[in-house]
Symmetry: C2
Subunit: 438 residues, 2 copies
């Protein structure tokens, strides 16, 4: 009665891989039921095969060559959790070429090589899934591929990085400075030893690339999204945000505008009343606006061993079920069934220079006659008009000026800020953070 097991080849057995092996063991009955038959881990490739591991790998062939696993006769489904770029690329490519479906949690791989790999998967009639690569448990790729597949998205805004969101939440809640908050994130396991990909916004940009391709059905080349991170964020920025009714979040933004597709990653003031403003600590969320669906928000843990493993398991069950569905006569599924390959149309991109934004500015100035006039002159000359302004009393010859602007061309704002920074009365580099309230 039982069909023969589908055999899994696993690349990488770190925290997520171990989490997955644990779930496959502890949920064996439910997984078998959901997948329409048993799954069995047959091979893994890890960097150090002889290392002692916490999980039960009895009967699993352990090696150190990812391509050999992708190539093995006793592997029906490949799961890539090793990270990196060149090594997993070679293995994933090999598996797809052989007609073996692939599941990966590797956002870097999919951002850099997704279009090529998806085309290969479609050509071979096999699935390539990567729900865990964006927002882990948040079912956002699945929703864009299925329920929202024909929806025309006008806006997608994501909080896609748990490390930076934890740091910003901690700074906001406890008034701590950036490096203290980063230490707290490290202590709690929300930041890696080298958090530079998180802090620079690069991690968010990779995830945004994957989301934008799907939500806007267009090509988004790897590395093409203008990106700013949160390094240098100051407690005063968060206090000012609070004072003006905002919260600071590192956002991935995608907007379909008449002038073109506006894609960018940067910290932003968002109104406190937004649901996204209530997304705190290590949580992620994706806000979507579609023509028929209206506004949606999907929220959950975007990282961590078990949440990520749970998302991989969801993909694995879907792939296994689909595979059994087609197994009856060995028919490959039609191309349309491979997720993530809707028809893509070229879409003009709107350069960040030409995006219109409101901006928060904080300047530290010397007590000097006419300094405010000099500042407003520089803004006015660039076509940037001021919506609100606060100047604190001078203390020891120095004062802080805080400004919120009306909407202006992003390039013009940056030019004005550069001109202001060059004024002799301006003491240090101005702080400038965009406001997002669409």
């Amino acid at each position: 009665m039982h069909p023969s097991p589908l055999r899994i080849g696993l690349l990488g057995c770190g925290v997520v891989g171990s989490g997955l092996v644990g779930l496959l063991g502890s949920r064996e009955r439910a997984v078998t039921d959901a997948a329409g038959g048993p799954l069995r881990l047959s091979r893994i490739a890890v960097r150090h095969p002889s290392k002692q591991r916490d999980v039960d790998l009895t009967g699993v062939a352990i090696g150190d060559d990812p391509v050999a696993v992708a190539d093995a006769e006793d592997v029906d489904i490949l799961i890539e959790l090793m990270g990196g770029l060149e090594e997993p690329l070679a293995a994933v490519r090999r598996a797809l070429e052989r007609g073996i479906p692939v599941i990966t949690a590797n956002k870097h791989l999919m951002s850099a090589h997704g279009p090529e790999l998806e085309a290969l998967a479609v050509a071979k009639g096999v699935a390539l899934r990567h729900e865990a690569s964006v927002g882990a448990v948040i079912p956002v790729l699945q929703s864009l591929d299925q329920g929202l597949r024909t929806e025309r998205c006008s806006l997608l805004v994501g909080i896609l990085n748990g490390t930076t969101n934890f740091i910003l939440s901690t700074m906001e809640r406890e008034g701590r400075d950036f490096s203290e908050a980063l230490d707290a994130a490290r202590t709690l396991g929300f930041a890696e030893a080298d958090p530079s990909l998180d802090l620079s916004g690069a991690d968010t940009a990779q995830k945004m690339t994957l989301l934008a391709r799907r939500a806007f059905r267009t090509d988004v080349p790897h590395g093409s999204i203008p990106t700013e991170g949160i390094v240098g964020m100051e407690p005063e920025d968060l206090r000012d945000a609070e004072r003006f009714g905002y919260v600071v979040k590192l956002l991935g933004i995608g907007q379909r505008l008449p002038e073109g597709l506006d894609l960018r990653v940067h910290p932003a003031f968002i109104p406190k009343r937004y649901l996204l403003a209530a997304v705190r600590d290590e949580y992620n969320a994706v806000y979507l606006r579609g023509d028929a669906a209206g506004s949606m928000l999907l929220y959950g843990k975007g990282a961590g061993a078990l949440p990520t493993a749970q998302a991989v398991l969801g993909d694995l069950i879907a792939v296994a079920r689909e595979r059994r569905l087609c197994a009856a006569n060995g028919t490959p599924p039609p191309a349309a069934s491979a997720p993530g390959m809707p028809h893509r149309e070229p879409e003009a991109r709107l350069a960040l220079d030409d995006v219109r934004t409101k901006v928060y500015l904080r300047l530290t100035v010397q007590d000097q006659a006419g300094v405010l006039a000099q500042i407003t002159q520089r803004l006015g000359a660039a076509g940037v008009s001021v919506a609100q302004m606060f100047q604190e009393p001078f203390v020891r010859g120095e004062a802080s000026i805080t400004l919120l602007t009306h909407e202006a061309r992003d390039r013009d704002v940056r030019d004005a800020v550069a001109a202001i920074a060059a004024l002799p009365a301006v003491r240090r580099a101005p702080r400038s953070i965009r406001i997002f309230d669409r």
Copy 2:
């Protein structure tokens, strides 16, 4: 190159049905692409076939017999959007018996007859989908069926009715009373002419039945969830909620507790900091907590012509794609592929009487010696301890006493409230609303 169209039979062409016909027309290319081939509306059944409609029904056979549509040779997929119970039941049953997949938005039908219809669908190897029946665009059934299918849910809390959420939001924001807020909801199209199913909580209870079956993998008989609505809600209740740091929402609650599964529908105070507290107006949301996934929230429009039609379209594309997948040799999909039929285990239910809750109480009392002692005596006798108490100054011989209790057995609280209501010094029926802060 093009496969022959899959032919759709549609029951009902009201706002949602018209919305769907409109989307099928305006998105024809994307739908064909996503479904792996064209879809064509071949037949509809409506109550008044001769009525003039806004949508283009050229070439569609229009009749008034739902079962005849379910039975027609030129129908490959049945979509039920007529509402009601007996009529759609007969038609859906007939279609499934013939091996025709069915999509419905009918929560009443699925709450009352879901288990029987799902068993029939599995036996016949066809899909039965109803994403639109709960939370419309919110992809919650899909997530529970797919990514979360093997997850062990410990908590599910939903705001599942847009009408009542709009009324509560309006009362809170504008300080209006219940009937004014209901009128506003009617004016804006968020309440039907007869809103009794919404206001009584029955609509929420039906949706909660569908969610609980899936999230907790157990049988939940139709009508078995203890339900209270929001009729009689007073502006003072919402003001007190605000004062104590809460917001009032009509919740569907499902909790897996050591003593059994706690399912209930009632208005509740929830802490202001909860994401659910920020779900306002006609929006719906489902909060989930799972053993590996952790906390998740899915948010969106739970009603309306286009959001509901969009959810139906998502189901339709999934069904069409799966149908083409199995069409190669006419193999029925394995039972495991029919969504919504994971293995269900019997689970003890915890009676509402035995649930432990905190409660908000508001009493109007006469200026009479010892009245507070009488009240606290009744509470103490029932084992209910007071966490906070406020008594306003007496005005014209009357004062309001507001209490928040510690956790106590629900039945004991109700007994105490009944005993307090019987005190001669208590002027009118006490207001009592449970607090949910798990």
